[in-house]
Symmetry: C2
Subunit: 401 residues, 2 copies
């Protein structure tokens, strides 16, 4: 009678899926190449001129693309390049960090339009949620003041916070991140803002940012090594952000540094937390960023000694990432002060030899990405944009609607 066992199957697709994909492919092509004519797009996407023409007409009507002046290039009718209209869409990003929260508004091409931050009250999520919702409201109002129709073109809210998610807390937790994990954040944000909300960990958010406006643009295989209070990896695999079965992929900070003996998590050694400890400064102090940056600029010996240690672990991490993910490049990004990040990059050479040593290599094995305390918030904001406009398998299928 009742067949209990549910049927597992992938979703099918139909015309709308096809159409949605092709529209996304256009937007993606324009994002990566700046401005392209209809004929260019047809060649690049392998669609017919006519199809491209129809889609571009639609996108133009919707205000997502616009024609530039015709350009003559050689023989034949001049081409009319189209480019993305930044004001075509907006998204809001939210970063929840240990002692503060940041909100940011970006447009279709990743320009930051407005931003705001606030301290998180130390008494946990239920009070903190109010602060957050107010912060989002503020950014939303500012955005509305800056551009007309912003509300109509708001595609969603992206949130980022330290992971891992859905796992029992371990050890000390002065900033109540564990409490935040249990708090029904997404529901609160969704009902409080009326927007669609998704959650990423901070490394994933950084990778999303690097993919939209940073060093991972146009790359289908890249790993962002995020050095923040902890350390994590944001994974761009096969052209999409990879989150794993539970949204926890890339938690390299938990990787143990030796199989036998007394293994230490990478996080305990290579992270800003370890730097703060090494320098004996209070991570909650709002001045740490500037302080560390200046120490790095003047090559302070204590920073140098930390860098020497950390670089060994980072070399190991890069080698590990290359061995396991075989990416086109590894990008150092995240909340580390810029001067520190530069010192680290310099100190990384020479990289240990790995399968990434290839003759056909055109991109550096390891490079510096964004070093901006707002990178995570930016990535959080980039997520809804990416969800709405980037080509992806999921977007074609019926169950995505």
């Amino acid at each position: 009678m009742n067949d209990a066992r549910p049927i597992r199957a992938k979703s099918g697709t139909n015309h709308e899926g096809t159409s949605a994909h092709n529209r996304r492919v256009m937007v993606d092509a324009l994002r990566m190449n700046g401005a392209l004519s209809r004929a260019d797009l047809a060649r690049a996407t392998k669609l017919t001129k006519q199809t491209v023409s129809n889609i571009i007409d639609e996108l133009e009507q919707e205000g997502l693309v616009t024609a530039q002046e015709a350009v003559r290039k050689g023989r034949g009718q001049p081409s009319t390049p189209y480019r993305l209209v930044p004001e075509g869409a907006f998204a809001i990003g939210l970063q929840i960090d240990r002692h503060l929260t940041r909100a940011i508004a970006v447009d279709l091409v990743g320009n930051v339009l407005t931003r705001a931050e606030a301290n998180l009250p130390p008494d946990g999520p239920s009070h903190g949620a109010t602060v957050i919702l107010e912060l989002i409201e503020k950014v939303r109002r500012d955005l509305a003041g800056l551009v007309a129709q912003s509300e109509r073109r708001l595609v969603g809210l992206g949130a980022a916070m330290p992971g891992p998610f859905g796992v029992e807390a371990t050890g000390d937790d002065p900033w109540m991140m564990a409490a935040w994990q249990k708090f029904p954040l997404l529901e609160t944000l969704a009902t409080g803002t009326g927007l669609g909300v998704r959650l990423q960990n901070d490394a994933a958010a950084c990778a999303t940012a690097e993919r939209m406006v940073g060093a991972a643009q146009g790359l289908d295989h890249a790993v962002c090594l995020y050095l923040g209070y902890g350390i994590g990896a944001g994974l761009i695999l096969g052209g999409e952000l990879y989150s794993g079965a539970n949204g926890n992929a890339g938690e390299i900070g938990m990787a143990l540094l030796s199989a036998s003996g007394s293994p230490t998590p990478l996080e305990h050694r290579a992270s800003l937390a370890s730097l703060y400890q090494h320098l004996a400064i209070d991570p909650a102090d709002p001045g740490v960023y500037v302080m560390v940056n200046e120490l790095a600029l003047k090559d302070d010996v204590r920073i140098q000694s930390w860098i020497e240690e950390a670089v060994m672990d980072l070399r190991w991490s890069v080698h590990l990432i290359e061995s396991l993910f075989d990416p086109q490049t590894v990008i150092l990004c995240g909340g580390a002060p810029e001067a520190l990040a530069r010192r680290l990059i310099e100190a990384m050479h020479p990289l240990p030899s790995s399968i990434a040593d290839r003759r056909d290599r055109t991109i550096p094995r390891f490079q510096l990405g964004m070093t901006d305390p707002w990178a995570v918030a930016l990535g959080a904001a980039a997520e809804p944009i990416s969800r709405a406009f980037d080509p992806s398998f999921a977007a074609i299928l019926k169950d995505s609607l």
Copy 2:
């Protein structure tokens, strides 16, 4: 004038892409669920009854599915379940190992129809290629003798060999694997057989096998830890095999076991190579498999001491894999003799705590997959089947045709 810089864009799709995807979804659903009625398929794939009906009619005509007897279940018209026809498609798999080569023929559902192996001449690829082509010919003839029309239904040839690919050789290489890497294997096989050919490393092949007929069936996020002469990981990420930018993803054997001091590659400690060394036996001896299996069965002390050491490294590996990939499960598979594999699995407990410790867990964190010296060859054969019939993003796009 000449705009040098090429335009980068993803491919668009059209009706044929839609259709191709939906057909694959049907086959996939039948593979995972055994037998389903048209109505079941419609519900599971979110397509309409009519669409499913049309596709099933086609598939039936093509001999890929067949109706079973109608079953009455509760009220309403009895349903007619359809199942895959094993003889609907065949593929040939080829394993090139250090001193021998294996060929195998499988059908649509992964049944092994015939197999053969041969020693690889020690004088390198150009002579070896002849041996291989003869071996494939033999398997192909045997297959043709076993089932009618097999040639018409042959979807391709999959090859598997130890990786990594495209990297300068390192260290000693008694079996000339480096020479094999340089040899134009794919071209030789393609012209020699007239079939489409793809290459995987052995860990990836194992994962492909586990996905078609093993422990990874129906899982979208699984990692196969392949313990063979070396050690590697086959990655099933987001429902597809992930190969990285250069086909080298999952090379966990190269992971270094400690950041500072004198780091050792995992491969030097946890691999059958290390076991052979520990036991002081010649890995080229064709009797090693049986020998090791018997030693494991009688709990030989030398085996036990190796296991104790190896298990520490394997625990570390599983923890690392869980931290970086966040899979639903980790599967131990590959060419290790079964008794040894069982001993290893037993000795793995307790696993180190990791982000994989979740309350909502239904599958074991770590489990035993296939322990069959033919697993790699089977996976190699599974690849063309998977390519031809599994749903995938690439299969929808125009540039896949």
